[in-house]
Symmetry: D2
Subunit: 322 residues, 4 copies
């Protein structure tokens, strides 16, 4: 975590978040050269409550505490009051992460432009412990970690490729001529063209501004274990080190009703009740191949059935499909 | 259901939905003078699958059936393929319903304008069985149905008020002069001003166009039992009579993973496992007033605790807080 | 302008706008019972510049002044830096104005809900000078002002209708019973139903929060002379009394390049150059009925042709179609 | 232009666009390996008219032709009826173009995912005539074309770098082992990690679906001469070969009122009228450095002043600042 503070104190009649003021402009390090820093914000937990009270008026008189009201709102999908909080972040992140991130459309973005400016030689090399083989079972995911020797070789290759790419970029720009008057007669390729050789592990930078409702949706998707590790690293830092101190009541409710909640499908509920009443599951539960069998009569593997068994186990319900 | 068919058959190489073609342009009646009609559409279940396959490429080869893929997408919050289907509806609805409806921002709307045109004398009067008293327990909702005598009186008052309002509207417009040359020397008030006397039970009309992902979110919120009856009446007709025939696989998945799903909070999950392991609930479960007691030692009512008990009961888990 | 100040001073390291701090929480009166008040904000002109500099990097070194950069951005449709400023307003406005306003979808809204709470007896009566007849030439607009006698009659009728409507509303709610124990045995109609008798000239209230780019688009459309007077009254106050002090450089550029700019169609440009080169306009300019004639050979009226002549006149170019 | 037709004819009661049906599913080639193909659509010019008529009702009776109404709508910024048309495209485009393109947020996107699938060896090499040096005057743009020798060298370098990058990608994936059982004991790196070596000139592919209003805004910005050539190449093909045949009236109006229109700032209008009335420009026109002078008394260059002179010249107005 770096520390740079570059705004003097001034006085305001706006609501302030003392906890967020503490870390304003600080760069929280993520990955090898990335960071996230809060550059501005609007509102606190109290803005959520205030907005809810304009909607519900007298209707909310009886919910006395702010915490209770915020929990009620999130539990019942009354999400618009959470849109009253806004945050602006400065993020330095690899291009391949930026490409996933930008899919969250309900945000304002200003990105460093390689049409106007020259990129820096900053690129991402995964650490050995994040260097994983392709998962055999899961098409989108990582499997076991590479063995140390191969991981080191991969790091080496990535580093060399990144440096070679940047050297070519500089050559195309004729950067030597610009800076040191070497080859002054050679023309530099337009920046917008020279950049096409840059691999997607290079870093870019942007301001990203959005409201708390959309930010929590980002957290819901991007702190999930199925999100790619590199974007998850950013999401985790933002959730726990930045947004939680800013709006602690909203995040407590988010953890309880979204992140750590369990979604049971109509089918899952049905299975649970069938187990409780002792029904024969082979008769009741046959959606979409749950009960397909191999030639020898054993059940074929089925991902959704597996997930159902796992979820119900967490509730203390033992289900056995045979 | 009315029947008007006003486009001739033509040939297309686009995907068509035979079931939706059957009901194209038909007005499905809702409330006393409202309706919903499909005016155009793009895509079918197959468009969802096609979009998912461009994303997952070879990764989806093993999920053989379309139904299985659509279920996988919805279960795992991969919602963007559902945005590939689009539908355009013509809706006639009371203004107070339109005011709730328009809060769904991710849609295209063209509404009848009372600045340009003169409103018709169409207004909504609730049927006796929908005429409910204010709920005592729920600030936003309806309680028991009014007794027949009072319901009839309310209908009567609403009808008279609506007619009086319209008569005033016509008087302000000097409509007689426009149509029958009575009072030709009196000026008609500008339409945009005359309309301000119209109560919100009058009907308006609009084209409403949006993608299937956002439409399913509309259904999730507006077919809920806490939604006001009048908007629910529209949502129910749209869900069951229009969208289900159009994209049956998507709606089947929606019913299973969204509408009829059960959301357990982290707390709910914890209670269930504590019950299974025989823990003393008075020791473990005390968030936000769950265990507050009256002077005589009995538990105070608590809405979230009540919801927890009710949900777990559906799973065959009996919880007793004492 | 009212005065209420209800937040104490605190210190912040965020950028502040001293001019906006001065008027924070003040209610600027609009129409007879409406107002606009700034409740929170994020950023100032400097946030626009900062965002542009992250995009253009070194590329902006040569544009030394902030004003020059902001003007450059707006002139060249680089609108995203303007999204870095955010403002939250509390607005009290008639329902028919709210219905136009809400069409601006890129904003966050929390509105007073008449499902939960009881509406106040606040309704809009136009002043005599805003009481206009329907325009004969313009289907959407107002023509000349009503004569004083008729205007007074209309005000009278509107006032009486509004009071009658509210009396019915109270009767339906059985408000007397709630407050004074009169008719305690009669049931009060559910709030969500009782409100349907309320005409659209009654006031509602909401928090409205959006970024500066979208707010300037709102100003472009709603301060236009074709916008209905009542929404224009709000837009004018917001533009000149609130947003101009907040981001003076952005608004100066907006006035120059948007609000007071002139749009010439390709056709307009062609006509101007044809005039300059002395071409025969009857030969060159015949799009879409511009040169249609009456039986006697004179030109038929044509709105777009008229607008062209008027715009070019402002540039000192005299065009005469014959 | 390729030809693949992969849907049989079926019959529909939806509005069809015969011109668009002709080119449905055809791949229009763009750049060296890119293309655009229409995969589906909803509505035609008539849908715009139909939506406008629901808004304006009787108010539009007098505008008899569809063309006239569409022109009126666009001229007066009534953009919502254009949102009633929707189109779905399949686009193959280089990653650096995709990164500009995705900034248009009001669209639905499903992109090929390199987390799930293996990228193909398709990369973009600019043609000699598009290989330009960095502009000296314009920070974001291209200057003169590189000389032939240097252009050939750049092509060569780009090609070699792209091939090397892809070879490394295959090595990391251990693709030989997957396909030919060479090095079967070496682990393949997870796809989501191996892809980080891919430069941004490689092609990706996506479905892109949006409404006509937002598409025209894309055209306005991306067919502009300041847009990067590579994205402009896509925008031009889409505008002229796809969207113009689909909605000819809307595009004719767009060309006249947007693309080929001229925007005069308040300052430009003032200058024109000052010229017409013979005022001394050195006295009147001094915004933001327009009249700054060098030591020898000559005017300093000023971009906005230059643009003003150029625009007024097109109107036949000669302005001379001295």
């Amino acid at each position: 975590m770096s520390e740079a503070t570059f705004e003097p104190l001034s006085s305001t009649r706006r609501k302030t978040s003392p906890a967020l003021e503490q870390i304003l402009y600080q760069k929280f390090a993520v990955l090898d050269h990335g960071y996230v820093a809060v550059m501005d914000y609007m509102g606190t937990d109290s803005a959520i409550v205030q907005a809810a009270r304009v909607s519900y008026g007298e209707g909310t008189k009886h919910i006395q505490e702010d915490a209770g009201l915020i929990r009620y709102l999130l539990r019942n999908m009354h999400t618009s009051p959470f849109e009253m909080c806004e945050i602006k972040l400065l993020v330095r992140l690899p291009i391949f992460v930026a490409r996933q991130w930008i899919r969250h459309r309900t945000a304002n973005v200003n990105e460093y432009s390689a049409r106007y400016s020259i990129l820096k030689e900053d690129f991402y090399i995964p650490r050995v412990e994040h260097m994983a083989a392709q998962s055999a079972s899961n098409k989108q995911g990582r499997g076991e970690t590479l063995d140390a020797l191969q991981a080191a070789e991969v790091q080496d290759r990535l580093g060399k490729h990144s440096k070679d790419s940047y050297a070519l970029y500089e050559h195309l720009l004729n950067k030597d001529a610009l800076e040191h008057e070497i080859n002054p007669n050679r023309q530099g390729l337009a920046r917008e063209l020279a950049r096409v050789v840059i691999p997607v592990n290079f870093y870019t930078e942007w301001y990203w501004k959005l409201d708390l409702h959309n930010l929590m949706h980002f957290f819901f998707l991007r702190t999930d274990e199925h999100a790619q590790y590199e974007i998850r690293a950013f999401a985790d830092v933002m959730l726990h080190q930045i947004v939680k101190p800013w709006v602690p009541l909203a995040i407590e409710a988010f953890m309880d009703y979204r992140k750590n909640a369990m979604h049971l499908s109509a089918r899952d509920v049905y299975i649970a009740s069938a187990v409780a009443s002792g029904e024969d599951l082979t008769q009741v539960a046959q959606p979409y191949g749950w009960m397909e069998r191999n030639a020898d009569g054993t059940l074929k593997g089925n991902r959704e059935r597996g997930e159902c068994v796992e979820k119900l186990a967490k509730l203390g319900i033992t289900v056995s499909f045979k």
